[in-house]
């Protein structure tokens, strides 16, 4: 028999009040404004938007503050919020070739049209803590230099001219672009849905998987063909107008990974590609995404599937940190009844085990004692 148990209401209310107090912390220290969070902790905001799969700096900053800086909690808040809104439609695909570039580098070509633009990067810093930042000292305005006019073509377009690299990636004309927020996940997946999943996937998880491919698990000889960060227009067809209008701009990071490929039964030797596209300034994530996108194309390219990073179901099923945290963290919720049942079961099994001993000794063996002591 199970008797329903209620309780904890007062404890829960008081816990949440305590949470609000701890979040506000020392009242003599000014509270943070969202503008400060957006402006000064911008890369954290970018990560929340990317993995929350919702571009809105203000909401991401609110989530970050509410979550006391807990990224995954903030991402969870943003995901929960998006479910309350109607979907107006789909944008036209963004054109990263027309980006207002803030950073653009290539590890494959030194001299390329548009140049190597370092932008606001941590690269080449010495990773020494800067005590000056403990104070609010004035900061010099950035240097300027006359900008080159004209577009900076994507590096993939340059390589394509020689015919030694595969094209951008096509799907059949009749293919309906998949949307994992609308349709149940099914394996095998088409590359468009995989890219959607990877773009919102956990940075740490994808980083580790990407790293594993470099270390020899599904080795794929990658080069960072190009990384570009900047703002792109978001355009939508408006039925009541009959033409497309801009909704504004978003900042994205794009990574074109170029991989040596010695050929298979399905494809000739050439450079193959992995693609990364992430909200905000998220270079590490875009690179990791591109590595994993490439490794997950093993089946398409006729490669042997030998490593975790090539296992589509394994990668995509575990890349979403909101799903992951939900299942892991549910373990802390009351399981009193489940546990009682298991306790009963283990007691019975133990009794049976002891009864069946040849010496009939129901006492503990030295081995049991050792385990308990440990």
């Amino acid at each position: 028999m199970y008797v329903a148990v209620k309780g904890g209401e007062a404890a829960i209310n008081n816990a949440h009040q305590l949470l609000a107090d701890r979040r506000r912390a020392d009242r003599s220290v000014p509270a943070m404004h969202l503008e400060q969070i957006i402006g000064q902790l911008g890369l954290g905001i970018d990560r929340i938007m990317a993995e929350g799969s919702l571009y809105d700096c203000d909401l991401a900053a609110l989530a970050f503050k509410q979550a006391r800086g807990d990224m995954i909690e903030a991402i969870f808040l943003l995901r929960a919020y998006r479910t309350t809104l109607p979907r107006f439609g789909y944008s036209n695909p963004i054109d990263t070739g027309k980006m207002l570039i803030e950073r653009r580098i290539s590890a494959t070509y030194k001299d390329l049209p548009g140049g190597q633009l370092l932008g606001p990067t941590f690269d080449y810093t010495h990773r020494l803590l800067d005590p000056e930042l403990m104070q609010d000292l004035p900061v010099d305005a950035p240097k300027t230099r006359e900008a080159e006019t004209g577009q900076a073509p994507r590096v993939s377009e340059i390589l394509a001219q020689e015919g030694l690299i595969e094209n951008d990636g096509d799907l059949p004309d009749d293919h309906q672009t998949g949307d994992l927020t609308r349709e149940p996940t099914e394996f095998p997946m088409s590359r468009d849905v995989r890219l959607q999943a990877l773009s919102r996937g956990d940075e740490g998880f994808l980083l580790a998987l990407g790293y594993s491919t470099q270390r020899g698990f599904a080795r794929s000889h990658p080069f960072a063909g190009e990384i570009r960060i900047g703002e792109v227009d978001v355009e939508i067809d408006v039925p009541e107008l009959g033409f497309a209008i801009n909704l504004g701009r978003i900042r994205v990071t794009e990574c074109q990974m170029v991989n040596q490929f010695s050929g298979s039964a399905k494809s000739p030797p050439q450079f193959t590609r992995g693609y990364g596209l992430v909200f905000g300034q998220s270079e590490r994530k875009a690179m990791a995404m591109a590595l994993v996108d490439r490794s997950l194309r093993a089946r398409e390219l006729g490669e042997d599937i030998t490593a975790p990073a090539q296992d589509e179901e394994f990668v995509i099923s575990h890349s979403d940190n909101v799903q992951a945290t939900g299942f892991v963290e549910h373990l802390k919720l009351p399981h009193y009844v489940d546990f009682q049942a298991e306790l009963e079961l283990v007691r019975r099994m133990r009794a049976e085990h002891d009864r069946n001993r040849p010496d009939g000794n129901a006492g503990e063996t030295p081995n049991d004692k050792l385990e308990a002591a440990e």
């Binding site: 571009y55 809104l85 963004i94 799907l171």
Partner: protein, 168 residues
Amino acid sequence: MSGASAARSQGKTNSNDVEAHPDEVARKQAMDVLASANANELADAWESWTDRPDVAPLRGPETGLVMIRGRMGGGGAPFNFGEATVTRATVSLSNGQVGHAYALGTDKDKVRHAAIFDALWQDEGTRRAVEEHVVAPIRQRLDAQDKQCREETAATRVDFFTMVRGED
């Protein structure tokens, strides 16, 4: 009134944008700027507008989501990249002119003002004033910001040089 329906029917016939009507192109350009404006810029412009007509909401302002698409490899098949908050509004002025606006974000006042200016833009009598007093200054600010960004980025461009060592 006739302006709105005319522009709309023009839009329908040209929706495959083979050759968009010049008015449609100009209206799109104005709407693009209005969508990128700051809330304050549009609020101030509306505050200081002479002969403000009565405005009735036809739809919204309401906030929803747009799924932003990317292309695999940058130029290949489309995929769903992630969503963004978008706010939209449709208003009608006392003279019957209807205006629409869409913009990223959740700012309802901003988008309502943008829809009003879209309606005023379509009216031949007020189009010039909207272009000169609202759209032009905002476009100027946006262009200046972009230029500043390009120049700051350009200062971080790497100038490679080679060092020749040895006799030949």
